[in-house]
């Protein structure tokens, strides 16, 4: 995968999961920014203009949906993938309405996630 130029923003409040995901993403991406809640994620988006945003939904201070809505109001073309737990399915409708491009279920399946990443990134080239 040619991801060396891509800038990635990963937002997750749960430290243990965050650590694993960083390890995994680092296997394929060089430029990764990490935020621990929606508020921080929004600030980092404005600062680093990432090509792709992967975010958890349930987080303190600002949840993933609100953050996504804020980001999309700044950049409607922003590419966002949400990781959703089984009990957060209700958010999906909201997420689609807001213009979020992709989602993967928790517990995370890496292959699924990377398929989503590829699909979302591919949509950029259209």
């Amino acid at each position: 995968m040619m991801n060396d130029d891509l800038v990635l923003l990963y937002v997750e409040d749960e430290a243990s999961i965050r650590e694993e995901m960083i390890d995994i993403l680092e296997l394929d991406f060089e430029h990764i920014h990490v935020a621990t809640n929606g508020q921080e994620g929004l600030e980092m988006f404005q600062k680093f203009h990432p090509d792709l945003i992967i975010s958890d939904i349930q987080m303190p201070l600002m949840d993933g949906i609100t953050m996504s809505q804020e980001i999309l109001s700044i950049d409607p073309e922003a590419k966002i993938i949400l990781t959703t737990a089984f009990n957060e399915q209700g958010y999906l409708e909201k997420a689609k309405e807001a213009g979020i491009k992709g989602y993967v279920n928790k517990p995370l399946n890496i292959n699924e996630l990377f398929e989503q990443i590829e699909a979302v990134l591919a949509s950029k080239k259209e």
Binding site: E14, E20, I24, L27, Q58, N87, P107, I110
Partner: protein, 632 residues
Amino acid sequence: MSKQSIFIIDDSKLINNSLKNSLEQRGFEVTQAFDIATAKAILLDNSFDYALLDLVLPDGDGETLLPFLQIHEEIRVIVMTSDRDADRRENLFSFGIVIDYITKDRHFDEMELSIVQLIERISTNNNLTILVVDDSNFMRTHLRILLSKRGFKVLVAIDGKEALQVIKKHKIDAAIVDLEMPVMDGNRLLSAIRRDRANLLMPIMVISGTSDPSKIARVIKNGANDFIKKPYANEELLLKVDKMMEELKHERLIKVHEARFAMYNRAIDEAAIFLKLDRDLNILYANHALCDLLVRSVEINEGTHFADYVSSNDKKHLDALQKELQQGNTYQRVFNLTSENFDSVSLRLTFTPLKENDDTIKEILVIGFDVSLLQQKESFLEKRVSVEAKKNWEQNKLLIQQSKMASMGEMIGHIGHQWRQPLNSLGLMFQKLNKAYHKNKLNEELMDRSTEKAMRIISQMSKTIDDFRDFFKDDKTMHFSKLSDIVQQSYDIIESTLHNKNILLKTHYADEISLLCLKNELSQVILNIISNAMDALVHNDTDNPQISITVERKKNDAIIIIDDNAGGIPDNVIDRIFEPYFTTKEKDNGTGIGLYMSKTIIEEHMDGHLEVCNTLSGASFKITLPIKQENE
């Protein structure tokens, strides 16, 4: 009986009023006059049972009132006078209504007492019949009137022969007999009367003109109780009759008491265990109830010592018993009696010392009841109570168990929340290692770091299992625990669930408190309250939902307050929330046992209090626990 009426005629206001007060207190109806004129006027319209007449009155001699009093035949006049002139007194009797004199120069209280006694005596005379035997018509009539006024029933006979017939026909209590009579004289009559054993004790007074001592002696020998010599003063005769009749009444009263005493004795003898002991506790008498109870083959021997029958354990009480008895006190306690010949019995015995005039103990009465059966019953009842208590405890235990089972579902939810993240992490870790391997990037550092982290996560997960297992452990013994640990135990279990629902839980430990308590049960109560608060917060969709737990010490109590901001419990519900099977939650969500069990656990298992009130923002539960230390 209607009130007896008394008319007091006395010019001394002091005496008149005092008599009035005192007689009224004794239940008499009193009318007063202070002079003759008023008395006359009153007597024209009123009649009385008694009149108290003073002879010295301001407007004349009291004697002038007697004809007016005489109008009322039934009246009995008691003359109050300091006049000691015997002739005058005799003269007053002839009016037929004067019954006695009270001398006024005596002490006032004494006078009052004599009046009352006299009236009482007269009123108890009416069931006594006196037979007057005299051949003189005048004497018969005179005595009949005199004695009738004295309250007696009077029958008359003209000689001894007639007298014997009257005695046969009527119940005669006493007789006044003239000695000299035709047909059958007094002496022969006396002998005839005494011959009948039934009349052996009949009081008989003999009247005679003789002053021959040997004749008088013969009369007494023949069975006369008293002798009066003609001519006699009426007052003297009355005094003698009174004395004779009072003795009769007295004797009869003693007989009544004796009969009653015999009945008591029999009643006790039949109904209870009854012993008589001498002052050294030797047995003088033991009734059959005791013998029946104790004895198989051997009688309780009179003359044996009470101590011989007292079981060795109870012998130590004998000194105290004797000491109390010597002081004249009654003594009561349960003695176990036993001997080679009979089984042990428990008796509640009451010892009553009977003292002689010289203060020495003559006899000790012992009345007792068999309490063996009662004791058996008591121990049976005790057993029953303990069985019931145990049943109750078992039932409560069952309820606790039920409520635990009910919360088991919630628990699985809590475990789910606690495990979701670590499971996620582990899942990612394996995928990471796999991916790194395929990318040829699996190095030692990554492998070590991942393994170490995996082990940490796994040990956390097993700790969760331990926590839950501890929580469900059925532990009935009190442990010395820190309150903060107990709160933390509840907190650990529900933390993830709260976090997932964005509910903030704050704990504040104002004091570090350790106490003896049922750790898991208390933890369950706290969890139950937090869990209810959580449900309310979710149900009401509260903004910034939060629960706070405060632990503090107040004197010897530990106080745990659990507040939420879910808006509070409705007024129509708040009084009922501790009732069993009361729930406001929808079907399947609440059993209605939780708070009932919580209250039972706190108040019955731990001697504490569980109360609830509403604050401005929500409900507030307060647990108060006495701080018990390990050595208590």
